[in-house]
Amino acid sequence: MTRPRYLRLPVRRSLDRRDVIFSGVSVWAAAVAGPFAALAQEKSAEPAAWEAALKTITGGAPLAGGQITIDVPEIAENGNVVPFNIAVDSPMTDSDHVKAVHLFSTANPQPLIGSFRFFVETGRAVVSSRMRLARTQEVVALAELSTGRFLVARKMIKVTIGGCGG
């Protein structure tokens, strides 16, 4: 196997717009969020299926940005096979490590794509795989830390041909 392009090391981001949205989801955030405005507005009505799924894991605990990166192609020509890489920057010690990373789709028939569990001895919290995406959407990665904190990262992916059989 040659090393595919998407396996390149994720680039660390400083605080950005996504983090800001998660640090305080509000009407104000919706106003400044631009492309994310539609998603933010959904929150005022019924929570989306993926948000409900996420909440079953977090129990409504606050979400932080940073320390977690999700690497996906900007445009996926084939929604059946969309590569992803999720990396969490963590010391991976007994007192502070990543227990699990969960990946959510915001527009698939089933929001949860997969859950990946890590161990202190592993020393790293990095996972790569391939997912199906029904259509253009955002994906959301959630990291569950041993400290009780939760980290999120989200990425928009344009899907040319959907991956759920039409």
Binding site: S129, R130, R132
Partner: protein
């Protein structure tokens, strides 16, 4: 399920962070698709993948239908020394595939 493929880097040293790549053939039937007679094709996916090293878990994945067919899964690990990996995949039929790979250090 066919014989899975495992890929480790060449010449691994103690203390290295390595990427462990795994690939297995499986249709990963989502349970959303309809056949020619408009009947739903029942779900049949690999729902669980576990990687053990020297008898201890180093990585575990719960997969959902949103994972692509022929699941490729890779993770990273810090190498503490030589040993043996045991990888296992379990699908909705209860079929379990186990693959063992030796990790040698230089």
């Amino acid at each position: 399920m066919n014989k899975p493929r495992i890929r480790l880097p060449d010449s691994i040293k103690v203390g290295d962070i390595i990427e462990v790549k795994t690939l297995i053939s499986h249709g990963m039937e989502t349970g959303q698709r309809k056949d020619a007679n408009a009947k739903i094709v029942p779900r049949d996916i690999i729902h669980s993948f576990t990687a053990m090293f020297n008898g201890r878990p180093v990585f575990q994945a719960d997969l959902q239908p949103g994972i692509s067919a022929n699941p490729f899964i890779s993770f990273q690990m810090r190498v503490g020394g030589p040993g043996e990996f045991e990888f296992s995949w379990v699908d909705d039929q209860g079929a379990k595939t186990v693959e063992r790979t030796r990790l040698n250090v230089v």
